[in-house]
Symmetry: C2
Subunit: 450 residues, 2 copies
């Protein structure tokens, strides 16, 4: 019997035809909105028997097209599986359904003095399930790591509806193959995650925030390594080039970063901990390092409101660039010393292929978001030439020990570049792993693999 949570109206199907990736749209054949684990399982079993492709969807904020129903099929939206099932304040973990909004979990645990560190810029809309699917990172990864470090266990379903329980409620686990970590980052192609057991930390009591302005973008990213040589591990080191700041200020309609026009690049640095004096001593050291590395200006957020202003700009950049028109976003990750030459490479490619780019990102962990703006580019350039530029960019990244994607995943739009990172037999091995989980090839088809 057809599960009652499946919607077929065009209106609903259109709503689930896109995420935040470029302007791509693929209308699914139906949308399932399960409200319980049992309902999710029933949808899967029903679809499996009929050979219907299944595309799990979270907050649909993805930037690699991971939830696009490119070959039709049913989108399963997790949005109604949005309960925080348990917060264990003694053992420091939470159990949540996949559809819980990341920020809601952050706020819920903060009420108990606890921290859930992964912090994507889309935290107000993205979901824990989506974060796990793409191994989301965000602004705190330099100190705290990515989503992967916080997933202790999962309750998932195989495509035919059989349950798959991975991991445990413990910090350590060496019991069989680590299916938890294999599912993290698998972009909904191996199993459908119903719930996750997530590690929490004591919430640091204090935070201090600094902004540094550099004469140019390259010297800003050069300073990252210098700051880290202090022996201090900041909880965030974020980079914005001038153009990014101007996009953000235009989007928000307010001037947030002083003298943005006169400067070329910014670093937003934050430290956290339990002891104010220690943090302030750290800030002094970090400032010394940043000035020695060429910073021309530094600002120290004196109040929570000042801190929020600094972050508001940083957090809006994705949506600010997106709202300006069509673009392609690359999510490169490199060793930190490679950042200056990566940035130069992007600009050189822009000059030779004729595109403008806006760069910012989590440079504390070497993750640079590169937005290639379409602006007036004709179809032929956009569809034929720009991919060549991206290919050149990725060859540079991989040759320098980097990765095609740091936190957005491969999804639909980056799959063609996978042979730059992997040998043919390595891709074949990954395909065979998928086949073990999903022999009929029904789970999120068309993703990851070229």
């Amino acid at each position: 019997m057809k599960p009652s949570c499946v919607e077929f109206s065009l209106e609903v199907r259109e709503k689930y035809s896109h995420d935040w990736t470029e302007d791509l749209r693929f209308i699914p054949d139906a949308v399932a909105l399960p409200t319980s684990s049992a309902e999710l399982q029933a949808v899967l079993a029903y679809a499996y028997e009929r050979g219907i492709p299944i595309i799990p969807a979270g907050g649909r904020t993805g930037l690699s097209g991971g939830m696009l129903p490119v070959f039709g099929g049913w989108v399963i939206s997790m949005e109604k599986l949005n309960r925080i099932l348990h917060i264990d304040t003694a053992n420091l973990f939470a159990v949540v359904e996949a559809g819980v909004i990341t920020q809601e979990l952050q706020e819920a645990v903060e009420r108990y003095g606890l921290l859930y560190p992964p912090d994507p810029s889309s935290r107000g809309s993205c979901t824990i399930g989506g974060n796990i699917a793409h191994n989301a990172g965000g602004v705190r990864a330099v100190k705290y790591g990515t989503t992967r470090e916080y997933v202790l266990g999962l309750e998932a379903f195989l495509p035919d509806g059989r349950p798959l329980k991975t991991g445990s409620t413990t910090l350590k686990n060496s019991t069989g193959y680590n299916l938890t970590q294999l599912l993290v980052g698998s972009e909904g192609t191996l199993a459908v995650i119903y719930s996750a057991t997530l590690k929490l930390l004591p919430h640091p009591r204090h935070v201090r925030t600094l902004l540094f302005g550099f004469p140019d973008a390259v010297s800003a990213v050069e300073a990252v390594v210098e700051v880290l040589q202090s022996g201090i591990l900041p909880s965030a080191i974020e980079f914005m080039e001038r153009e990014a700041v101007l996009f953000g200020e235009a989007y928000l309609g307010e001037k947030l970063y002083p003298q943005a026009e006169a400067l070329g690049g910014f670093l937003l640095v934050e430290v956290d901990g339990n002891h104010v004096e220690a943090l302030e001593a750290d800030c002094v050291q970090i400032e010394e390092r940043a000035l020695a590395a060429g910073a021309k200006q530094s600002w120290y957020a004196q109040t929570t409101e000042e801190r929020d202003r600094l972050w508001r700009l940083r957090r809006c950049l994705g949506i600010a660039v997106k709202s300006s028109g069509p673009y392609k976003e690359e999510d490169t990750a490199v060793p930190r010393t490679v950042l200056p030459s990566l940035l130069q490479k992007v600009k050189t490619l822009g000059r030779s292929y004729g595109f403008r780019s806006v760069c910012y990102g989590h440079v504390g962990d070497g993750n640079l978001h590169i937005n290639i703006l379409r602006e007036g580019l004709p179809d032929t350039v956009w569809n034929k030439e720009i991919p060549k530029a991206i290919e050149e960019l990725f060859h540079f990244v991989v040759a320098h020990g980097g990765a095609l994607s740091g936190e957005h995943g491969i999804g639909w739009v980056q799959r063609r570049y996978m042979p730059i990172q992997f040998a043919e037999h390595e891709l074949l091995l990954m395909r065979q792993l998928k086949q073990v989980f999903d022999p009929k090839g029904l789970l999120n088809p068309g993703k990851i693999f070229p």
Copy 2:
């Protein structure tokens, strides 16, 4: 042509017939000692063609029999692949061959002011490759996590000798399935690891160490949760029951812990960081919490020598118990609040099955090592009854959200208990994953699976 690094003498084969697991011995048909990546690859290709089982071996300090050649075949010892290939002080990573001794890496990076946190008690003999194979943890995992958190990428070989490069030299990576994390903890059954790219951290400048004595063992582990409620994350919280301390002191031939006979259990707590005053404030808070939770005595290590004395005892416990006679070691991991009832369960089982146990472990992360001593137990009890007690123990652990093994792996001696943790179809799925990597079933046969 037979690779020249393969030894067939009985003397060599006997040397590689055992690790630290109980008194188990299985003599391999040969031992390969490759000195380069190319030689390792050649051995694998040669053995693969002839259907020879391959058992990768590191420091042979394993406690689950992971390197025992139970079905014969060739042991490949990584001990001559022991070069630290690169320490990148700007990007904070190291590239090392699999045979590097863990402590040697720790010391090498410390010279640059850097920290490689995983710290098994066997660090002077165990290898990075072995640590990766079992996802070793050790004493710092409560704050820093296990080996898994530090492996950014691997160079490995599939059983037929084809290279497999996983991950990247970056902190973030969402590019295809995470084969790095699948190989971590796979106990040499999927691929043979040649080298690893490991994340490093700035070395904390200061450390402070406390020892607390409790009237009984249960109240010591009860205090763990209380200490963590301070909002401080110690870099170690180690537990020893009285018997463990007495074993250690007897082994070392010195009295290291004051009043061990009069007390029932100890917690060794350490904090680290860059600011002495902050650490000392943390110590005051931790001490208050420990005393409130029932500690009768507390000692604060005033000097490096005092600190070393406290740790020397803790670190020798494994070998101290081992040297006392045959035993079985269980490596249970549970949520921290379960520790008191787990400890009581062990003692209850001891009374009903007639065995004595010695318990200690990394209780900050819920990892309790349970040593069941053979002493005068006859063969029938040791071989038939004790496994039933262990089974009962593991049922308790799994029912409370725990894992059969926290850091030792399943290997040979725990495989029969896997159905307690996993459903049949989950074990089948793991077997199928192995088949993708190792279709001939030649890599470390007889391990992990029941």
